[in-house]
Each structure stands twice: as C-alpha cells, then as structure tokens.
Subunit: 285 residues, 5 copies
C-alpha cells in the first residue's frame, strides 16, 4: 500500500527539472474552464495535470467529529468503499491526494489536495465527498484555493543561470513520506516594487535553496484575490531536517521581510492512499 | 437550470458601461427607506434595483449544521419548496442571489446576497428564511451589510478620460459561473488624505484594471460605519486566471498600502439558483 | 406595537439639545450606587435615567441556540410572557431596550441595553433574564459595560461656539428604526496628549458632524478600565445613508489615527419592543 | 450572607498601607513550595497568605454549559453543598474567592481566585472542583497564574516620598461589591529600559493614582514566563466611577505606551460567597 | 507514584552540563528517519533519545470533552489500562511524557510530549492513542512539532567561555514537579542578521541565565518551517519564583525585541506518570 501511495504522489510533483516550472509561459494565460479538457470516459492524466498551467487546486483540511465513533463499527468499515466510489465517479475530472495529519496538527486529522482543469469539477467532487458517511462526519477546518501558472521570475529569459541551476537539481532522496502545505502572503510594499526589484529578491531567495532540492520537492499555486493568501506552497520530503534547513535559508533572505503570512497554518501530513487514510480514521470502538 | 441561473444574475451586474456606475449622482443622497419603493403585488424590478443608488444589501454566509443529515431524507427533500415559498412571500421587497461555497470555503457552505430598498425588508426576509427547516439548520458564519451609492471618484466630471475607458469596457466572456465577495477596509491615513489625493490614487488604481473588464464584472457597496468594513466588493467571472491577474494589478498600486482589510474573508462561490443550492446541500443519507 | 416601541426608545435618546449632554457637570462625580435612587414601587423614570451622569449600562448581544427549535412550539409561545414578568419584577431598578440583529449580524440574533443606577441591579436583572426559557436558550456572544458622564470636551466653558452648534441641532427625521452599538478604543498616544490637544482634536471631530445631527441621535458611554474599550457609542437613525456619511466624516479627521478599535463589533439592529422580539425569535416549527 | 462575603474578602486585600506591599523584601525570594507551609488540620491563615510574597495564585473564569439546565432541579440544588465539601477538604492548603460575572461578561458566568503556598495544592483543589456536579458543567474559558513578590519599584529605599504617599492612603469607601481582574503585558522596549528608567516611569505612573486609593483597593501578581502576561492586576471597589477615573489616569502616563496587553480580558464580577454563587447559577427550570 | 514519575522524567532532561547541549555537533545533520534506530523488541533508550540530535518531537495539548463524564464510571476506570497497552505496543519506537494542566490552563487538561527517531512512529502512536476510550474523549487543542539539533551558537568553538559556564552549571534543586512548553518565533529582521550578530545577541541572552540553571532545566526543539514557530522551549523546575526571574532576565536583553511569538500559549503542567494522569481525569460521577 505504502509503495502504491508513494508512486501515485511522486507523479504529482515536479522534480525541479520538470516541464512545468522550467517551461516557457504560454503567451496569454488561458481561461480556467475549457483549456485542455480530457476526453470523456478517461481518467485525468495525472502527470499532465500536475505539470500544466491554468489548473485549479483546492486544499482542504478536515477534522473528524467525535460522534463518528458512536456510529456502529460495521458502518464505519464501509466508509472507505463509499469514498472510493465517489473518486471513481469523478476520475475523469479530478485527481485527489490525501494526507494524514492526526498527531501532527490540532485543527485537522487529514487534508485533501484536489486538482481539476475546471474549478466547478473540483467543487462537484468535494460536494459529493461531503455527502458520504465519512465526509458527513468531517468538519472542514481550513480551505485554500489557487491556480497553477507558468514560472514568473526564475525563467530562462529573465534569470538564465539560476534557471539552469534549478533545472540541474534533481530529487535524489527516498520516496517522500511527508508533505507540507504552507500559505504565503506578501505585503503591499512587495507588490509595489518594480518587476526588476522583485526579480532580484527572488534570485536572492532562490540561490540558497539549490542545495536542498536534492531532498525536497516543491510545487507552487497562485491565489491572489482567489483566497486570503498570495501563494500556496506545497512540499514533499522524506527528510524533515533538510526541510527545516531549507526553510531557515528562506528565512534569512530580505524577501522574508515582506511576508505578512507564512504558514498560519503550516500543515504537515504523511502521504497516504485515501483508502488507507479513511480506514485509519474509522477505527476505534 | 444553469441557464436560468446565469440570466437571473447577469441582470444584477453592471457591465461597466451600465447606468448606475456611470450615471451622475442624484443631488442629495436619499434616505434609505422610502426612496423608489415599488408598487404593491409586483415583484421587485431586478434590473432597476441592481442599478439604483440608496439600495441596502445584506451578504450572509451559512454553514449547514451536521445534524441536518439526521433529519429524515423525505423531510429534507421538502426544504427547497419551503425556501421558495418564503422567496415568493417577499418578492415585492427583496431580490435574493445564492452561491454555493462548499468545497471552496471552510467557514461556509453557501452565501446569500439580498437587495432591498428598505433594510427592514431585507431583515424580514432573512428572519423568515431562518425559520424554514433549511434555515434552522444553517449557522450564519459571516454577515456584512452596505448600501449602494453613486460613483465617487471616476465620474464624468472628475476623471473624464478614465470614465470613458470604463464606459467603453464591455464584458465579453462566457456567462459567469463564479462570484467573489471581498470586504475592503482602509486606514485612517487614507481617509485623512484630501479628496484630490484620493482621486489621484483611485485613478492609478483604475487604469490597470481596464484590460480585465472584458472578463470580470464588478459591483461596489459602501459600509463605513454600517459594518466593520468600508466596502464590500463583489465580482462575477468565468475566468479565474483573469480574475487573479486583475487582483494582482490592484495589489501593485500605492492605494494597496492603505488597506487594513482586503478579504478576511475572501468568499468564492458558484452562482446557483437557490432551489438547486438547497437541493444540493440537502442530499446524503 | 411599532409605535409604542419607537416612543419608548425616543425618550431614551437625547436630541443634541437635550439636558445631559449639554448640562454642566456635577462637581464631583457621584459614586455609582446610591445616587438618585428612585423610591420603592415606582418604575424607573426613563427620561431621567437616560439623561443622568453616573448611570451604569450593560450592552449584551445574544444568539439563540439551534436546539431552541426543538422545544415544543407551545412552550416557546410562553417565552415572551415569562420575559415580560422578569421585566416587571425589575422595573424599579432597570430600564431595558431590545434590538433585533438577525439578518444583519452573524454573531448575534438580538441585543439588550440595560440602564441602572446601580450596577448590581443590572446584573440581577440579567441573571433573572438568563434563567427564563428564552434566556436559557440564548448564548451571550458579546458584553460591554460602561457609565455615563457629563460632557468632557465640547462643554459651554471649553468650546462655547461648538457647544452652541450642538445645542442648536435638533433631530428632525422619522422615528428611528435602526440602532448601532459601536465600541471605540484609543491608543496610548491619544491619552498622553495634553487636555488642550485632545480638546482641539475633538473640536475638529465635532464640526463636520453637525449637519448629520438632524438625522442621527447619539449617546456616549465611558468604559476605560471597566471593559476592553474606552467608549461605547450608541446611535439611532432612520436613514442609513446619512449615518454612513456621518461615519465617513468622522473617518476623515486626524483623531481617527488614534483609534485602535472602532467597531469590532459594529452591531446593527432594528429597535423592537422586547415582547415582539422574543415572539419573532420563537417562531418556526 | 452579603456581609459575610464582604468581610471574607476584605481581609484578602491590602489597604495600601498594609504589610505586604509596604514591607521590605525578604532577601532572597524563597522557592514556591515549602515556604511558610501551615501546620496540618488548620485552615490557611487568610490574612497571612494574602500579604505574603512567594504565594501562588490561579485565576480562572468559567461558563456554565447550557445542558446544566437539563439536569433535574433537585440535583442542581445539591450543587452548592458538594462544592462546599471540596472547599472544606482543601481548606488547609488553599483559600478561594468567587465572583459572579454573568450579565457583565460574555465569556464567563463566574471566576475563581485561588491562593496557595504550593502551586500543586491549587491544582489539586481545582481538579476536585471540576469533578463536582457544578464543576463538570462549567467550561474553563480563561486561566491565568502568577505569584506574589515584594514591592519592586516604589519601595522605602528607592522612592521614599511616594512610598510614604502610598502608605498614607487608606481605603475609606463602602465595603467593595465589585472586583476586576486585568492582565498587563509590556513590550521588549520596556524590559530593555534600565532599572532607573523603569523606576522613573513607575513613579510617574504612581503619583496620579494616590487620590483614588481611598476608593479602590488593589493587589498585584507577577506572571512573566508563567503565563502569557507579565502581571495580573486585581482591584476591588464599590465605586465604578472612581475606578474609571483611576484607569484613565493610568492611561495618560508614558508607561502606557509600553503596553501590549492591558485587559483582553478585563473581567468584572461582583464579590460573592461561593455558596451563593453556585446557588444563583443553579436556578431556573 | 510521584517518585516513579519524577525519576522517569528526570532522565529526559539535560542538566546543562549534559552531553547533548554541550557536545560538538555531528558534521552533517542526519536525515530524520533512519539515524540510530534501536534494535527490534527493545524499548527506546530514554537517556539516549533525549540527548541525541535529529530526534522528532510532537507536543500536543488535550481537553477532555464534557460528555466523558456521561460514560459509565466503570468504563472510565478501564481507561488507564487501555492507554498503558498502547504505550506498551509502541515502546520500541517512542517515549511519552505526560503533564496535567487542569487548573492552570483554560485550553487544555493535559499535554503529551512524544519523542521518536522517526516522525511516522510518533504519528502511529498518537493515532492509536486517539483510538482509545480516553483519547476519543480528548480534543486536541494545540499541536507543535520540532526536531532536536546540535548546539548552534554557544558552542565550544564559537563562544568558549560561555560554553564553559553552561557546562559548569548543574541543576541542584528538588526533583522538578512543574514543566513549561513555550513556543518562540523570531521576525525576519532577526533571521537577516549575520551569523556573527546573532551569536552576539545569543551571548547577551545566555549570560544572565547562568545563575538560574541551578533551579531550572531546559531543552530546545527547532521548528522553522515544520510548524508556525521557530523553536519550542521546554523547561522543568520545582521553583516557580526562580523560573519567573529567569524569564524576566530573558525579557531584558535586546534579543527579546526580535520576538513575534513568545508563548501563545505558555503551557504549565505538573509532571505526571501517564497512568496517574488518566485516572485523575477519569474520576467524577
């Protein structure tokens, strides 16, 4: 199970040399809905959706209500099948990743990451999920939405050397067991810098991160105006010490002075097949 | 159903060339209550109320309580009819728009936007709505009230060129499926600027927004003193990427430095006929 | 009913020319408890208590718990009588005003304003109120206490012209249907100004408000040290547009820069006879 | 009952001329636990513990859960006896004061102040209290702990004149019926001042308070590092107007600029024998 | 029982002269998971795991839900055995310390500190703990995770004299009965100082703490990026007055000006064998 889980997720993350972050931006950004919609009856192509710009994402954290444990155990045992049926129903429109946060977080027991070409499809899945037995007993405690976009700053054109450094860094650690979801918001002074000034700060930000990319994968979502954050940063790693050092290196650059939100929450979970996760959280007498 | 929904709402939004935003202000602002009250037995004229100044609005977000799903399904199936009857009862005084937020928001499952010439009529509707089965099982999680006013800054007189730019911009996207409700509050330094200084900042604010108006509709409500916000900004779009770019352009002007609240919450919902919305949130066993 | 309501409340508000705000301060401020206690068996003199200094006030907002609607309707129909009996019991010590906030506010369904010469009498009433059926199903969501004091700044002595302006302004609108409760707290820089500096700021604050007094009544309570606010400001109006303009004029003076709290919450309610309010919130099946 | 209550509490408060605040500090501060432990089988000496340094205090505010009123009235009538038995059990180790906040506060119905020479004894009492029927139906909503210390600044040595002024001020009001619990926290700039600078600020702070000591008693607890506050200030008065004026005088000195917390919460209660308090909050059908 | 408790915990804390804090850093920091994993079938070596770098820690605070007291007392009496069985199951992977906070804290009744070489093992234990009867009735109210690292600043190389001072300080108080968990977060200005500047500030920070180490033990966890704090500081003492003085000395150095979080929460508990703690919180009728 663990192996299946890791392989499912690994496809969803770019090694830094991957196509989306490194690729040139498509000229005008396409509208959310119609772009690159897959044909009917086919599951979403996971590798493709995870590397495309213009993709919608919804992160949501959930806490199981205590009265779930008053539901008969037999009934709780059917919870995973019901959730899997909903996944099957929506597989042509969304991909779903699941993470167990119980033990690490106070405000959640698990979180979901849902990607879709169309934001309405993501909502449709999540509405159906909440109508399952497991979903009914889950309170949503945090929700963040965003979209993927082509690389803004450290592109081939604007910052060729660093872009090459990023492209050359390859993840070489064990299959990641941990994921982080960390929102980031910057203040008005940041957004009022010129493009050149922001580029310079992002170069200073990027340089010290290169040594850590061998141990940490990352993906970026844009949320300005879509939610109360500018970015949702997402990481996978198997080495929490390396991740701590990466984050310290990001704390030590001037760009950090423009943050008004970095975390709040910082959500740590273990990467899990959703079936496992539902079973784990449905046990107990 | 979807088509009916969209057409209902489209009337409620001004393309930027529309009458209310562009029209000259009526000399003294009328008192809220008696102005332009419609004749008895006639539904409120939707196009008219949505373009008039001096109109009261109440936005409220709701979360379904978990025990709603312990109500017998047969009873929940009657919920939509009961809500529609309340709408019918109040149709001479209020118009009501509904939005599904489940899947996008943690603190709500849906929100309502209620317009009325008289704030007491809006309250009367909302009190009756809360007394329905569906309303009883809905917790109000956020509420913001405001009023419409004639255009303050970018008027024909004060800023003729930009006013012309706004008037020339016409929404040309697909029927919007998404709506945003975003409160905005400014600090004391902003309000202590002279009228001329604020006009200048608003011109700088308006210029970069023009290219996006083809994809985003917007409406502004004034709340200073009526609630803990200065403005409620409301948007409809079918293109989340364009909306993100619009909001980025607004982040990059100096006016942003005066914000003490921009969002908190940013509420995203899909535009829904209220009947559909009630049915969607009443399903599940 | 509505008429009775309005007349009850109108007495509780000073037109600006009224006695309390304009009258000279009694030499030393009297202790809260014994001052001007009414004779036994007589209801509190409403006009007198609402214009006297040294009076205690408790504002409290309430939200009906959802399980109230599981109480039999017959029993809920008796709720208003029970509340009226408690009012009768305490009528020699307190006056009570009630406001319906449902539909306007997320954190409350109604609020009460209780005046008493003795703070213990106000508590005694509120404890008895909470022991009624209606009170038991009401959660207190906000509570603010204060006292009335003689005019501090714009007095006959200190600022004769403005004092005359205030005295000359008379409320001339329709009977107010709306009330606002808005806490105000100022920072240490404000309190460290000299008396003369604060007087100057308050004159600048007062001047632009004069034109609005024809449409807005107001009353001020002092809370420094008694609660986490310096002032509780209370307003009645029938014209929400005029009120918005009044508040904008107060935002635009330098005194606003000293605010650390202005609202949070801003509570808007419709003025209601308490009997009506209890009945309104007790309906539903 | 009221008389007994007042006399009980009056012993617990220093008139400013009292022994603890005015007395010279014992050379090294003793460890919390063993110091001055009373002999077995004897109630704690109230006057002594309330004037000694090195005493532990726990303030905790409580809110009765609504389902308490679904407990049979007969059973609720036994609640006070059960609480009194717990007090009896712990009388050799702790003294307990009780305050009714219902009607004044939203987040609590009452609060307790527990003094003990040993912090473990305070916890033992509070654990037993929570295991009573009344305690089980009480949610703790705020908790603050601290210790007493000898006078820091306005001592005989450091500030002889003001120390004499404090010693000369004697409470001369009616028996206090009201108590306030107000946490105070200062910023890093304050703590980075030299001892001399802080002494100077405290002298400026103390001088204007002298005239109010005739009407307000006060006691100070130290909490830096023990809790999220630096001090817990506690007051008793029968004159809320005088207390408001005292707090205004403290707002007007430069020391106020160093506050990051002053209140939040400010808790006002009436001083009550605990037996009365439990009975009052156990009534209702 | 108390004796067993103290001895269990004492092993988990470094006297300042102990090996971990004083020892030279291992050259590159090892990955979290595989380092120093103990052989199968053997309990974790407590002394070793508490002095090693690269160890994962999860602190979590819990509040018992009120309905626990509606569970039959007989059933609650079995709660401790069930928890002990879970501890036994995980003893090869984790060590667990327990602290009773009831009476001192509003947001919790107890907290756990879990150490593991592998963060997944810590989660596995905490998931099983939550599935016990006692865990099911416990709401997690705060959760903080971190890792141990070798000494950063006051090392033999960088600050030899202070390092010697730390090494020479030995805890000499009674067995500690109290523990504190206090998160610390620093601002971007701090992290943008040079290494030399931060070292200098930490030297100024360390010097005044030396006299208190005879009465206070401490341990440091690093959390930047792993959670919404930079550090989790943990203390044990039997002398709350000395602890207060230690924290005051830390407030008075310039490093304090860089704090954006110091506490929030400050959690105080008594050190307890977990079996005792479960029994204490399971009593009541």
């Amino acid at each position: 199970m663990k192996v299946r889980c890791v392989s499912l997720v690994a496809a969803g993350l770019l090694t830094i040399a991957g196509s989306a972050i490194g690729q040139p931006a498509p000229a005008p950004m396409p509208a959310m809905a119609p772009a690159a919609k897959p044909a009917m009856n086919t599951p979403v192509d996971r590798a493709k959706i995870l590397s495309a710009p213009g993709v919608f994402v919804a992160f949501s954290t959930y806490k199981i209500r205590p009265d779930y444990f008053k539901v008969a155990l037999a009934e709780r045992k059917g919870a995973a099948d019901e959730v899997m049926a909903v996944l099957e129903k929506h597989k042509e429109k969304v991909i779903v990743d699941a993470y167990l946060t119980r033990g690490y977080e106070a405000k959640s027991d698990y979180f979901l990451r849902v990607h879709a070409y169309d934001a309405v499809a993501a909502q449709a899945f999540l509405v159906d999920f909440r109508a399952t037995r497991f979903g009914m007993y889950s309170d949503v405690t945090e929700s963040l939405v965003g979209i993927t976009k082509a690389l803004n700053y450290i592109s081939k054109d604007k910052s060729p050397d660093l872009n090459k450094g990023l492209s050359g860094a390859t993840y070489a650690g064990d299959a990641p067991r941990f994921a982080f979801m960390i929102p980031v918001k910057k203040n008005a002074d940041w957004w009022n810098l010129t493009d050149e000034q922001r580029l310079k700060e992002m170069e200073t930000h990027t340089l010290p991160t290169l040594p850590f990319l061998v141990n940490v994968k990352r993906k970026l979502y844009h949320s300005t105006g879509l939610d109360d954050t500018d970015f949702i940063t997402y990481f996978e790693t198997n080495d929490l010490g390396a991740f701590n050092n990466l984050m310290l290196s990001l704390a030590k650059v001037p760009e950090n002075k423009y943050h008004v939100r970095w975390g709040n929450p910082t959500v740590l979970g273990t990467i899990q097949p959703i079936e496992n996760l539902v079973k784990t959280l449905s046990m107990g007498n």
